[in-house]
């Protein structure tokens, strides 16, 4: 019996908790943490004339 029902690619994503774990850690870290950290590192010194 070789007619396994075709699984939609999006269902494959939904059924893969490990992929979701990696993406769920990576995306917030890059978008919020790393980008925010870079913004702070780029703050220039004040000129107080």
């Amino acid at each position: 019996m070789n007619d396994k029902p075709k699984i939609h690619p999006w269902q494959k994503v939904l059924d893969n908790p490990w992929l979701l774990l990696v993406l769920g850690v990576l995306i917030p870290f890059l978008s919020y943490t790393v980008w925010g950290w870079i913004e702070l590192l780029l703050v220039k010194p004040a000129q107080l004339p």
Partner: protein, 571 residues
């Protein structure tokens, strides 16, 4: 006759695996998981009580006419209240939920008892350390402990232990998922409740990693070993812990909505792909919105603020709106299939409002959606935040999300966890039926009091508004509403705790017989379960309610833009 070898398999169907069969549902319960569900749930409820006592005292202080606590103790108990409610109560209860979600629905055994002990031991030790040092007056820094405010090193170490302990519990959850699949404990896709718990666990990993990154250098600074971390950096990373822990709550709460609507009414997700995709949107984008704590901060720019606070173009808000439809829709379909088909809202009237697990779920959904969600997205708008940051509007928002939403849902869950896991029938069932209403009304009043006072400029985290001489009678009135609501909410909380504790000691033991049902509407004659499975237009009531919700959202949202436009131009 030789005994069968104890299988190393993590399937509950394998021989020798310690389990029992639930007398109410027929599902298998892993005895290891059951033990740790009990430990964690009980611990959570103890910290809920401690945080609740602090809440009462705080509410009676912000109510200026009463002004109960002196300043020092106000700030001390405010720190205590934040930690016990937002970290301890919530995380312990969530670990209990995780242990359930990875075992019974998957017919799987918990990965490791030893790991569970380490997790629980660390969490409890850390919790006791933090509570002790706060009450000893060595950590009057608020839950956020913003540098340069400095607490005793034990405060930071305790939080590190809680975070690491929770992370170990989360590891136990993921490991259980892995071995369940490996050992064939189940076939097919995991059920939605487990999927929602997985989303919560993923977000918990992000949360707890941020906790480690911020707390470890702060601890070493407090010991005098390293330099002070930059305050702006501290805020960025701390909110990676602080807000993202609340997003764990959102996932857990929504999973509980699916769980309880299923247990009480037999509701099922109307479209599994849609519901799961909504959880994925949470996983990918909900953590970005920690940025809404930094919207009026120096250093981080407008683009970073706008992109992150928008949850990536509001995709994670879309996820909440999806669940806000699919949960009631599942309930409506279940009721219509039972035969309650009168008009658009006949099914609403026939719902089991006296079932405390159901009323808690319904109240949680309405309070979280209409009050929490709408205020949250609005206050988290970059520019609108200018008229809201650090005012009492902010606690006004989060008392309807994490308290009226998540905590109330967890209380509803307890009305089934105690009979099904602790195997005791509840005592004083009349009081139990009233409790969710008492708590829900109380916390809604607290939130209204806070939100209106806050929109008049009253600060959060402030002991006394009269010192400034700028707040009038209206602000005082709303603080009074806060006070009275706080008393009611405390009574609701105390009732819940006493019911749980009393039941654990005095409730009738069930010993694998079925629990006494809280009440489910009976299927009417001629009705058939599953009959509406292909009817995609059956949810008339739900679509009306969600459209009303959207209208409220739009009105509140644009009213706030208007209020913003009335203040001085600023850039």
């Amino acid at each position: 006759m030789t005994t069968a070898p104890v299988s190393l398999s993590h399937s509950l169907a394998a021989p020798g695996v310690p389990k029992r069969v639930c007398g109410t549902t027929g599902l298998s319960v892993c005895l290891d998981a059951q033990r740790f569900i009990k430990f964690n749930a009980v611990s959570g409820i103890v910290f809920l009580l401690l945080g609740g006592i602090a809440a009462l005292l705080l509410a009676l202080t912000r109510w200026q006419a009463v002004h109960l606590l002196p300043a020092e103790w106000f700030y001390r108990l405010l720190t205590f209240h934040g930690i016990n409610m937002l970290i301890l109560w919530i995380l312990f209860f969530e670990v209990a939920i995780l242990y359930f979600a990875c075992t019974t629905p998957l017919n799987a055994r918990l990965f490791s008892k030893k790991v569970a002990w380490v997790s629980f031991g660390l969490m409890l030790t850390g919790a006791l350390m933090v509570d002790y040092i706060i009450l000893a007056g060595q950590a009057d820094v608020m839950m956020t402990s913003y540098l340069p405010l400095l607490a005793h090193p034990v405060f930071y170490l305790g939080i590190i232990f809680v975070a690491v302990g929770t992370l170990i519990g989360v590891f136990n959850f993921f490991a259980t998922l892995y071995v369940a699949k490996r050992d064939g404990a189940y076939t097919g896709s995991m059920p939605i409740v487990t999927f929602g718990a997985t989303a919560a666990a993923i977000i918990a990993v992000v949360t707890l990693l941020h906790g480690a990154i911020v707390m470890i250098p702060t601890f070493t600074y407090s010991m005098g070993w390293t330099a002070q971390p930059d305050p702006a950096w501290y805020r960025l990373i701390w909110w990676g812990l602080g807000h993202q822990s609340q997003q764990v709550n959102v996932c857990a709460m929504v999973s509980v909505w699916y769980l309880l609507s299923h247990i009480v009414l037999g509701a099922r997700p109307i479209n599994e792909a849609v519901c799961r995709t909504a959880f994925v949107l949470y996983i990918l984008f909900i953590n970005l919105a920690s940025a809404h704590h930094l919207l009026v901060d120096p250093g981080v720019g407008a683009t970073w603020k706008i992109w992150n606070t928008s949850y990536a173009m509001y995709l994670a808000v879309l996820a909440s709106m999806i669940h806000g439809f699919t949960v009631p829709a599942g309930v409506e379909i279940a009721m219509r299939e039972k035969g309650y088909t009168r008009g658009i809202f006949g099914w609403v009237v026939a719902l089991p409002w006296k079932n405390p697990a159901f009323s808690a779920t319904a109240l949680s959904l309405v309070i979280f959606g209409f009050l929490g969600g709408i205020t949250g997205v609005t206050l988290g708008t970059q520019q609108i935040n200018i008229i809201a940051h650090n005012t009492l509007r902010i606690p006004g928002h989060f008392h309807v999300t994490v308290v009226g939403g998540t905590s109330l849902a967890f209380m509803g869950l307890a009305y089934y966890v105690i009979p099904l896991i602790f195997q005791r029938d509840f005592i004083f069932r009349g009081a139990a039926r009233l409790q969710p209403w008492l708590f829900g009304v109380g916390i809604t009043m607290v939130s209204f009091g806070m939100s209106f006072a806050g929109s008049m400029g009253v600060s959060r985290r402030s002991w006394d508004i009269d010192a400034q001489g700028v707040y009038g009678p209206a602000a005082h009135l709303w603080l009074g509403v806060l006070g009275i609501g706080g008393v009611l909410a405390f009574l609701g909380l105390l009732t819940f705790v006493l019911l749980c504790v009393g039941t654990l000691f005095l409730g009738k033991k069930l010993e694998n017989s079925a629990m006494t049902d809280w009440g489910t509407p009976p299927a009417l004659a001629g009705s058939q379960a599953g009959s509406l499975a292909q009817d995609h237009y059956a949810t008339k009531g739900t679509i009306v309610l969600t459209c009303v919700f959207l209208a409220c959202f739009a009105v509140y949202y644009f009213a706030n833009w208007k209020a913003l436009a009335d203040v001085w131009p600023v850039r």
